[in-house]
């Protein structure tokens, strides 16, 4: 009983792990100076200076440089000792960091070549639908009320229609609202964001220049006057070239990363030594 308790003491764990580490350390560092020489070459100093300039916008003073070298040495000593003990190997953060670096190298690798015109037009042709430019709308709206079916709304719609016909200031009509009374040169998808999809779709169809309604939004019924409208267009490549380049590069980047892994993975055999539990939905 007492022994069991003794074996459960965290202190003992520390002692044991300490001993084990010490043993591993002796075994793995046979006293050579190879792993224990830290050379501060001109290259190292240049690097430290470059990093300092990047971080602070100026060269380090003599005192700062000494400090930089001292912390470089500090990092090197403890890092090397840690690596000798294999402390990097069971560290998930180190592992993932290294994985990211290799993925970035793969991505960088792929991105050294700019897309050619042929690349872009091929990509554009296959993905035309993604580059359609939404209709651009300029309109005023009067908010009549929440529900489109109530008697009150029907009455309000009639009153509003009459007032608008007589040329009243639209902003003085209808119910007060925080919705914008006017949207200028706004793409239809942004109209959707504010008013809902069916409202935006309706505005793409109504006659330009007239007050029409009621038209339903996510909030209720409106009178609307579209004063200017550029219909949606399937553009030529030249008009959306930047966008196409961005999308093309993004796809290439992701493909490069996946390809790199697939290739490396193919060189490994993975054996799972236990049966896997079924995943719940």
């Amino acid at each position: 009983m007492r022994i069991r308790k003794f074996l459960g003491e965290p202190m003992l764990h520390f002692l044991l792990i300490g001993l084990a580490l010490f043993g591993a350390y002796r075994w793995r560092s046979p006293g050579d100076s190879g792993g224990r020489r830290i050379v501060i070459s001109q290259g190292v100093i240049n690097d430290l200076v470059t990093q300092h300039v990047a971080a602070r916008g100026r060269e380090p003073s003599a005192g700062e440089l000494n400090h930089l070298i001292e912390s470089y040495v500090h990092d090197e000593v403890l890092y090397r000792e840690g690596v000798k003990l294999g402390l990097d190997r069971d560290d998930i953060v180190v592992k993932r960091r290294v994985r990211q670096k290799i993925e970035m190298i793969a991505e960088e690798d792929a991105s050294t070549r700019a897309p050619t015109d042929a690349d872009l037009s091929a990509y554009f042709e296959t993905n035309r639908a993604r580059f359609v430019q939404a209709a651009v709308l300029t309109f005023d709206q009067v908010f009549i009320g929440e529900s489109t079916s109530g008697l009150g709304v029907v009455h309000a719609a009639a009153v509003t229609r009459e007032a608008l016909r007589k040329g009243a200031n639209a902003e003085e009509l209808g119910k007060p609202t925080l919705l914008p009374h006017r949207m200028t040169r706004t793409p239809a998808d942004l109209v959707t964001r504010d008013f809902g999809a069916s409202f935006a779709a309706a505005l793409e169809k109504v006659a330009v220049g007239d007050w029409v309604g009621p038209i339903d939004s996510s909030f209720g019924a409106h009178y609307v006057r579209v004063s200017d409208r550029t219909p949606a267009v399937a553009p030529q490549l030249a008009a959306v070239r930047d966008q196409v380049v961005r999308e093309w590069e993004n796809e290439r980047r992701q493909r490069a990363r996946n390809d790199a892994y697939t290739k490396m993975r193919a060189e490994y055999q993975v054996r799972i030594e236990t049966s896997l539990p079924m995943e719940r939905r």
């Binding site: 074996l7 003992l12 764990h13 520390f14 044991l16 792990i17 084990a20 070459s41 290259g43 190292v44 240049n46 690097d47 470059t50 990093q51 300039v53 990047a54 971080a55 602070r56 916008g57 005192g63 700062e64 400090h67 402390l87 069971d90 560290d91 998930i92 953060v93 993932r96 960091r97 990211q100 670096k101 970035m104 190298i105 690798d109 050294t112 070549r113 700019a114 200031n169 902003e171 003085e172 007060p176 609202t177 925080l178 919705l179 914008p180 009374h181 006017r182 793409p187 942004l190 964001r193 504010d194 939004s217 996510s218 909030f219 209720g220 961005r246 993004n250 980047r253 719940r280 939905r281």
Partner: protein, 666 residues
């Protein structure tokens, strides 16, 4: 042998190398124990005078100039912000050490595309898309960056003058086998510090930071979508007291690339960050602001009434804090920091999404700490500091962010992809540990909050316009829904102003959220024009409250909460001075609700009935939705599971908090 294994695991955990790195604390905090040499960016705080002078020119879009100028055309001269732009100022991706370490695979490019409304595949392999795209985003990966790979630019003549670089470039273009060899050589040369000088020239060095800014630049489309350049400075003082700040750039890549982000390897003291910001602006001619977050996890330090080192505040310190930190992130996935029931015992809605047991590593709180953590208390205490020192260091507006660590700004209750890849939608996530730092230092999965976003009343959707609006604090925080909220203060608002476009009267007769009231005319009390419109996909509105903090004659900060307008007016009354609840239509089993209670839109003019012109005061509005299903209810319905633990909230009352309006006696 068995003991040894246990010991190893124990040690590994103690070193922070556990299998599931728990939260942003993974960023090394200990390195700063050794202070950098005395040389500091920005020099001693004697700059404070300059900073105050600067703050005049920093607000190019002065709300006082938003007045509608008279003329025939009702639209000419209208320069005020007409709509709020919703975004997230707090996003981590795989490029943040703790996010990458926990397995996140989505980098800043995927995160930005997702915020813009594109569909992506989450780290756990699930396709996901936002219900509604955001208008802007700031990817804020931790500044403690990896040193990375220098790019060999294809064919850059200056670089190609170097034989080695040219040879590598030829190898890159010489087929896969050659290219791989080139990569190996390049990596080895970098590791051994044998890169050709041309490759380490800062002109060509392509750091991770430069990659980050390139991505922001690519996806930043003025007028349509703003991708800010940003980073997070992640100070965990004393090993977990959350003093993190998001740094938001007003400018573009050309300025941002001139200086690397400030890291906590350099300092954990926010004063040093402010000095760095001062120096950065001087060097580049650009503009920066900082947004602190998670006061609730700072163990009393976020709004402590002393400086970082525990000294009394000085005027210079207060000036600098006000100057650099115009906003505070009051809600995010790790809970809200707006108000706490123990500080506001009369507030029926303060007990909401609380993470109040410890700091970031769940080191338990001691009595008194909570007073230094919450926005409302800080706004009140700021009045006192202003009275004593002449500057209010806590003159901040409200922001909301997700602080997601999987690159997904999915803060919608029915689309909640949570904070870490391990917490992406799965049947068991509610019952697992979101954070586990040992016995009694656990945060459960269900405690995660599906929040939040920042709404910015900006004149347009560009970096400069949004940033300027943030700087003048014309913002509000929401727990997720895109409700539209207006809040104006002045002395002459009348009920008639609540019948038409509120902004017209609001800007003409008063000041917007985030501003100061002018001096009170004799005999007049402040009036407030406040209005809210529901998110078209979310619940109706329960009520709008105005929260007033003021300084008592005894110098003690006080608060009062006023219900100023509410939905279902005809059926609700006041019982014992309290507005009766709006009701609840949530069917938890199916995770549905109906908008048959509450109102879609609320508007009113309210006059402070308890105004004393000799007393400092601060006012802000809080908008509450009717109860709707919480993400836990959507999970239960989707995964067909029973959540039986009665501690787990299944409904929520989404909300918005506006930036305050301040009153100071002249």
């Amino acid at each position: 042998m068995r003991q040894l294994v246990i010991g190893t695991v124990f040690l590994a955990a103690a070193c922070g190398g556990s299998q599931s790195p728990p939260g942003p604390q993974a960023t090394p905090a200990t390195t700063a124990a050794q202070p950098p040499p005395a040389v500091q960016l920005g020099g001693p705080p004697s700059n404070a005078g300059t900073l105050t002078a600067d703050s005049g020119e920093i607000q190019p879009a002065d709300p006082a100039k938003f007045h509608k100028e008279p003329g025939y055309s009702p639209y000419a001269g209208r320069r005020y912000p007409e709509r709020p732009y919703f975004g997230d100022e707090h996003v981590h991706t795989a490029w943040s050490v703790d996010a990458g370490g926990s397995g996140a695979t989505l980098g800043p490019e995927e995160a930005t595309r997702f915020a813009r409304g594109e569909e992506v595949t989450s780290t756990s392999g699930q396709p996901v898309r936002l219900g509604q795209p955001l208008d802007w985003v700031a990817i804020t990966d931790h500044s403690d960056m990896m040193g990375m790979i220098t790019e060999i630019k294809g064919g850059n003549p200056e670089m190609m003058a170097d034989a080695t670089l040219k040879r590598w470039r030829d190898m890159f273009n010489g087929g896969p086998v050659e290219a791989k060899k080139a990569v190996m050589e390049l990596v080895a040369a970098q590791a051994n510090r044998k890169l050709p000088p041309a490759a380490t020239d800062p002109k060509f060095a392509k750091s991770v930071w430069a990659k980050t800014t390139t991505i922001a630049e690519k996806y930043n489309e003025p007028g349509r979508f703003t991708a800010f350049i940003a980073y997070e400075w992640t100070s965990n003082a004393g090993g977990g007291d959350n003093l993190h700040r998001n740094i938001i750039y007003r400018d573009n890549k050309d300025k941002a690339d001139q200086v690397l982000p400030y890291t906590t390897f350099q300092s954990e003291n926010p004063e040093d960050l402010w000095k760095w910001m001062t120096e950065w602006e001087k060097t580049t001619g650009g503009k920066l602001l900082a947004i602190p977050h998670n006061g609730n996890l700072s163990n009393g330090r976020m709004f402590a009434l002393t400086t970082f080192s525990g000294d009394p505040m000085t005027k210079a310190w207060a000036d600098a804090r006000q100057r650099w930190e115009p906003l505070f992130e009051a809600i995010q996935m790790k809970g809200q920091s707006e108000s706490h029931p123990s500080l506001s015992p009369t507030d029926d809605f303060a007990a909401y999404e609380l993470w109040d047991r410890g700091n970031l590593t769940q080191t338990p709180k001691k009595p008194g700490m909570i007073a230094g953590e919450y926005a409302r208390e800080a706004l009140k205490n700021g009045l006192k500091v202003e009275q004593d020192l002449g500057t209010n260091p806590f003159k901040f507006g409200m922001a909301g962010g997700t602080d997601t660590h999987n690159g997904l700004v999915a803060a919608e209750e029915d689309n909640f992809f949570a904070k870490f890849p391990s917490a992406e939608p799965r049947a068991d996530r509610w019952d697992e540990d979101a954070m586990n730092f040992g016995p009694n230092r656990i945060v459960k999965g269900w405690e995660m909050t599906a929040a939040g976003y920042t709404a910015v009343w900006s004149t347009g959707n560009t970096r400069a316009e949004l940033w300027d609006a943030m700087m003048r604090r014309e913002t509000y925080a929401t727990s997720g829904p895109r409700m539209i909220v207006r809040f104006f203060g002045g002395y002459d608002f009348t009920p008639a102003d609540a019948t038409r476009t509120p902004a017209v009267a609001g800007y003409a007769k008063g000041v917007p959220m985030g501003s100061d009231l002018p001096a009170a005319p004799t005999g007049k009390a402040p009036t407030f024009l406040v209005a809210a419109l529901k998110d078209r996909f979310s619940g109706n509105l329960d009520r709008i409250q105005i929260i007033k903090g003021w300084l008592g004659k005894d110098g003690k900060p006080q608060e009062t909460i006023y219900d100023v307008v509410w939905g279902d007016k005809d059926r609700r009354t006041f019982v014992n001075g309290k507005l009766t609840p709006v009701g609840n239509t949530v069917d938890i089993a199916s995770a549905t609700f109906t908008n048959t209670i509450g109102d879609p839109e609320l508007i009113t003019v309210w006059k402070d009935p308890d105004f004393d012109p000799s007393v400092r005061a601060v006012y802000y509005a809080r908008v509450l939705e009717i109860p709707t299903p919480r993400w836990t209810a959507y999970d239960a319905a989707y995964f067909k599971i029973k959540i039986t633990d009665s501690k787990v909230p299944m409904t929520t009352q989404e909300r918005a908090f506006t930036s305050p309006i301040w009153y100071s006696p002249k």
